[in-house]
């Protein structure tokens, strides 16, 4: 096992342990705050899974989050069968994956990469938000849909009511932990290696027999599906869905979470979501219109000072110390 993997697992288990013992110290409200942050962390990890390994930036990831959210909301409000929640989760994942599949097919097989892809996904997000606002018979328009019942699984013997704080926290923590671990396993294995090869030199990777467009498409669809799942989870935990969830601002924020946390680390983005959401709360409580301004500055600062994320500060300090000790 190489050192990088060992370090990652170490940080991963520390995080899982912290999440696991947190309920013993926190009240219900705090639990729900961390639960929601975990859901956004999952969302950030889904973007990182695509952006981090392929180097292609998706600027409209909130569209998939929103699609998942709206599908979930509609299913929970309209369908009255046992296991409606499960149907909603599956529907949300499939819905987001379907849209990503269509867009990704045309773009990747059309040879669209890099900045072009970024732009098209940005436009997709703008349109998704507009659709959510104007298609009011289904989406509830500007104000969205409220009163979405919480998830509930009931199979006779086993009864799981996720309307309560602790069960929902445990459920979300379990799902997020599992998915982040699976994504990491995928991206450090053969799949991720091939993606890195495609990023480095697509022509060469294709010459070695890899179907680059198909590989990129599959990664994009998986990434969107997880974003859809995160959206669905968020909607039935929060009990409401609004056009903002498919909007450009959320797309922007998730990029910041990933960029601050460190692209390509999967865990970094989750931590990034935690810290930036906290900062957002503090700053917004001072003045609501200050937040976009700060967000803009964060973008510029990241690009110029911390291109590898906050975690890279430690690596840089290490390098500095090493350089210092070598000097006579």
């Amino acid at each position: 096992m190489i050192a990088r993997d060992r370090n990652w697992l170490l940080v991963f288990f520390v995080c899982v342990a912290l999440v696991a013992i947190y309920p013993f110290f926190a009240d219900g409200y705090r639990l729900t705050v961390i639960r929601d942050a975990l859901i956004f962390g999952l969302f950030a990890a889904s973007l990182d899974f695509f952006w981090g390994r392929t180097g292609i930036l998706c600027f409209g990831h909130a569209a998939f989050f929103g699609i998942g959210g709206y599908v979930m909301a509609r299913v929970m409000l309209d369908v009255a069968i046992p296991f409606a929640g499960l149907l909603g989760l599956v529907g949300a994942v499939v819905g987001a994956a379907f849209v990503a599949g269509i867009i990704g097919y045309f773009l990747f097989f059309g040879g669209i990469r890099g900045s072009y892809f970024t732009i098209v996904t940005l436009a997709m997000c703008v349109i998704c938000q507009q659709a959510a606002i104007s298609w009011s018979s289904v989406t509830g328009g500007d104000s969205g849909l409220i009163g979405i019942p919480p998830l509930e699984f009931d199979s006779g013997r086993l009864h799981l009511d996720l309307g309560q704080d602790l069960p929902s926290y445990i459920f979300v923590a379990g799902v997020v932990t599992l998915i982040v671990f699976v994504l990491w396993s995928i991206s450090r294995g053969r799949w991720g290696t091939v993606l890195v090869a495609i990023q480095d030199n697509e022509v060469r990777a294709a010459a070695l027999g890899h179907n680059a467009p198909l590989r990129l498409l599959a990664t994009f669809v998986l990434s969107a599906a997880i974003a859809g799942l995160a959206g669905a989870l968020y909607v039935c935990m929060a009990g409401l869905v609004a056009p903002d969830l498919a909007g450009l601002l959320l797309s922007t924020e998730v990029i910041v979470w990933v960029a601050v946390g460190g692209r390509g680390t999967l865990l970094g983005p989750v931590l990034g979501a935690f810290f930036i959401l906290r900062a957002q709360q503090v700053i917004s409580s001072l003045n609501p219109s200050l937040w976009p301004l700060v967000l803009g500055c964060v973008f510029v600062v990241i690009v110029f000072l911390l291109p590898d994320g906050i975690l890279s500060i430690f690596a840089r300090l290490k390098a500095l110390l090493r350089a210092g000790s070598k000097a006579p």
Binding site: L107, G110, S115, T118, M124, S289, L293, G296
Partner: protein
């Protein structure tokens, strides 16, 4: 007949707007390979410049001049402070310019306050075109757009500065070798694109809802125009504008605007799949 003509002129108005906004983008994105997500905000700055000049008693035409200057100034500062350092890092350019876009929007909102800003057109009323009457201002807008397009084509094809730009874009090292100041050429080209976008914003202002966030819609559409048409050619730019603008205005009558947008996006994506190098195959540069 009059319905057809009105639809045609509506399409022409939209195509002109897309042409103007896309022109600056064709220079920065198509030629210089800089993905500038703050391009839409040049449009916003231009629109606000017209509003500001009108609100202190100036005429629309003075406002239009101010819009051009304001666009150029913001573009120059952006190039000098940020983009210049990131020419070799495309993703970083995307992130940094998006940050600047957010900052510009918020600064405009803090300066001018919430709510849409009124801008009055320089001429009122309609112009009689035998079959139908059409708003005079829109006809002026179409005329100005065509004139600017012609001027830009002449500038790039016929002047020595245009030759410099084409040289730098084809081979930066070689251009430096023959004594062209590539940094300056890039800075001027970028500011020039921003100036046209600012001018476009000023022209759009009487027809649009002037808000700090208005830029993003033009941004997305302008990028489509450049991508569909094939980056880097004026002919492609025209083809892309006709494609996106024509499609949108025909659909606008049949279905709701946001559905029309979605259909146009889908059509644009399909067009890119079928013609990856642009509608005109991107041969004419």
């Amino acid at each position: 007949m009059d319905f057809l003509l009105t639809t045609f002129l509506n399409a022409m108005t939209l195509i002109s707007i897309l042409l103007l906004v896309g022109l600056g983008l064709a220079i920065s994105f198509g030629l210089m390979n800089v993905t500038n997500l703050a391009h839409g905000d040049f449009v916003t700055v231009g629109a606000f410049a017209v509003y500001f000049v009108q609100s202190i008693g100036g005429s629309f035409w003075l406002g239009l001049a101010a819009a051009t200057v304001a666009g150029a100034a913001v573009g120059f500062i952006l190039e000098f402070a940020i983009i210049r350092h990131l020419y070799s890092r495309p993703v970083s350019t995307v992130l940094a310019t998006w940050g600047v876009s957010l900052i510009l929007q918020q600064v405009l909102e803090l300066t001018f306050g919430l709510g849409a800003k009124p801008v009055t057109p320089p001429v009122d009323g309609t112009f009689d075109l035998i079959f139908t009457a059409y708003p005079a201002y829109r006809l002026i807008l179409i005329a100005i757009a065509l004139m600017i397009l012609l001027a830009v084509v002449l500038l790039i094809r016929k002047t020595s500065f245009g030759l410099d730009i084409r040289t730098v874009i084809q081979n930066r090292e070689m251009a430096e070798g023959v004594g062209i100041n590539t940094r300056r050429t890039y800075a001027i080209a970028f500011s020039f694109g921003a100036a046209i976008a600012g001018l476009a914003g000023g022209l759009i202002a009487p027809l649009a809802i002037v808000l700090p966030q208005m830029g993003v819609n033009y941004l997305a559409n302008a990028f489509f125009v450049v991508i569909v048409g094939g980056a880097g050619s004026i002919g492609g730019l025209v083809a892309g504008s006709v494609f996106v603008g024509g499609f949108t205005s025909v659909l606008d009558y049949q279905i709701s605007p946001s559905l029309a947008q979605a259909v146009v996006l889908l059509a644009a994506i399909v067009a890119v799949r079928l013609r990856p190098n642009g509608l005109l195959n991107g041969v004419s540069r």
